[in-house]
């Protein structure tokens, strides 16, 4: 079974040379730590930077330089700053190659819910609806089940949607899956996890090919 860093590490394998990548808050933010350093990748943060670098040293903290998670960051060589309209122009115009974000629920048709629990929690969608509404390639990073042990991979989302039929791939603590023909196709098992465990943790319909290899970490 993977922990959050393990999920991030596995997702980092999906990041290819030449990609511009938008990382959501939480597990997705960790992905930057595991991207191979022999490929060229740029991170976009939707509050207005392309070419986001690592966290600053204490001496280099700048209140005017944060990411979309409100964390202090640095800018890499070749970075640029821009306003929010330009930033979402990049996203809406499909100039960003890969979007990695968290979710509360994913449905087997690719629907995603991650911004609201009616009557309980309403943080807002932030940039998530713009991202999932436009991105060509969306990977969801999340735990396979919620704190109550219920599956987050569902036949249908029960929470208010963030976007419809948009998720490409899901990487959880148990498995890598992709959305194929309205089902969750199992691609890889997490180290030490067998297919029965994944079945039990998945409410939606699973497509299980003959050979499901273990993730190569």
């Amino acid at each position: 079974m993977l922990d959050k860093n393990g999920i991030a590490k596995r997702i980092a394998q999906e990041v290819k040379d030449g990609y511009y990548v938008n990382l959501g808050i939480g597990i997705p933010t960790l992905v930057a730590n595991y991207v191979r350093d022999d490929i060229q990748v740029e991170f976009q943060s939707e509050n207005g930077i392309l070419g986001m670098g690592p966290f600053p040293t204490e001496a280099n903290v700048d209140a005017d330089l944060i990411n979309a998670g409100k964390q202090t960051i640095t800018a890499r060589k070749g970075a640029s700053f821009f306003d929010s309209a330009m930033s979402f122009g990049m996203i809406r115009g499909q100039h960003v190659d890969l979007t990695i974000l968290g979710a509360m629920e994913v449905a087997q048709n690719g629907n995603i819910a991650n911004w609201k629990i009616p009557g309980k929690m309403v943080k807002g969608m932030g940039g998530a609806m713009d991202l999932v509404g436009s991105a060509k390639n969306i990977i969801v990073a999340m735990m396979h089940t919620n704190r109550a042990g219920q599956s987050k991979l569902l036949k249908e989302c029960s929470l208010p949607l963030t976007g419809v039929k948009c998720v490409t791939k899901i990487v959880t603590n148990l498995a890598v899956l992709e959305i194929v023909d309205g089902k969750f196709k199992l691609l890889e098992r997490a180290p030490g996890i067998n297919i029965e465990e994944i079945k039990k943790a998945t409410e939606g319909d699973l497509l299980i090919p003959e050979n499901v290899t273990e993730m190569k970490m």
Partner: protein, 232 residues
């Protein structure tokens, strides 16, 4: 040149009244118009509608207006950093219109640029699309969104000149440029106010025509929400 300089925040906020709609720049606490927000607290204007990406934190930024219950309605994309906000919203004291962040930016920019409406895929198939026109373009459904207008826009820039030309620093730019000129009166506070001619005209982010009043702000706190660092 046409001079937009005013002497202080009090003069800059002349005409602000109860029940008005305000736009406020900033992302989280980064690039927020601290001086104008504090003056709105002092003026104690009530029943206001605020268009702002976030709602500050409990004791800073728009949180100060929320605490005093000056805000009737918030139009934002993300309000997760503010417990008082969530309380007022869930209890029904505060009206909230949540708007996808890119749509929020573009609706402000649309007002600035005289575009009454546009189509975007963001929010299709969600609550955001309820009551809105849906139309397919290139085989993909989009929803129609309209321009946001306001009575005042409160903007924070890094430097500005007396003619209202603005430049921003780092990610403190965010929503500030797109709100300039989207309101009847755009009020800008800057960290440094310079004479016209001191900014390179090639690198002005917002031309002065979008600005009605500009002043040099004071005592910037520039609070950081998530101070994250690495070893030196």
């Amino acid at each position: 040149m046409i001079i937009k300089k005013v002497n202080n925040v009090q003069e800059a906020l002349t005409g602000v009244k109860d029940s008005m709609t305000f736009m406020l720049g900033g992302f989280g606490l980064c690039g927020i118009p601290e001086n104008s927000i504090n003056e709105l607290v002092n003026l104690n204007v009530k029943d206001i509608t605020c268009i702002s990406n976030n709602a500050g934190v409990d004791d800073f930024g728009l949180g100060l207006l929320l605490k005093k219950k000056q805000i009737k309605k918030m139009i934002s994309s993300y309000v997760g950093e503010n417990a008082e906000f969530e309380r007022q919203m869930l209890s029904g004291e505060l009206e909230v219109d949540l708007v996808p962040q890119g749509t929020l930016a573009e609706r402000c920019r649309a007002a600035q640029h005289g575009i009454p409406a546009f189509f975007t895929p963001a929010g299709y198939g969600t609550e955001v699309a309820e009551g809105k026109e849906v139309r397919d373009f290139n085989g993909k459904p989009h929803i129609m969104e309209t321009a946001f207008h306001a009575d005042f826009a409160f903007i924070k820039a890094w430097k500005g000149d007396e003619a209202g030309n603005l430049i921003f620093k780092g990610t403190a730019r965010n929503f500030n440029p797109v709100m300039c000129g989207a309101a009847k009166i755009t009020v800008v506070e800057v960290e440094e106010l310079v004479k016209p001619g001191e900014l390179d005209p090639n690198f002005v982010h917002v031309p002065g025509v979008f600005v009605q009043r500009i002043f040099e702000g004071k005592n910037y706190e520039k609070r950081i929400e998530q101070r994250t660092t690495k070893e030196a």
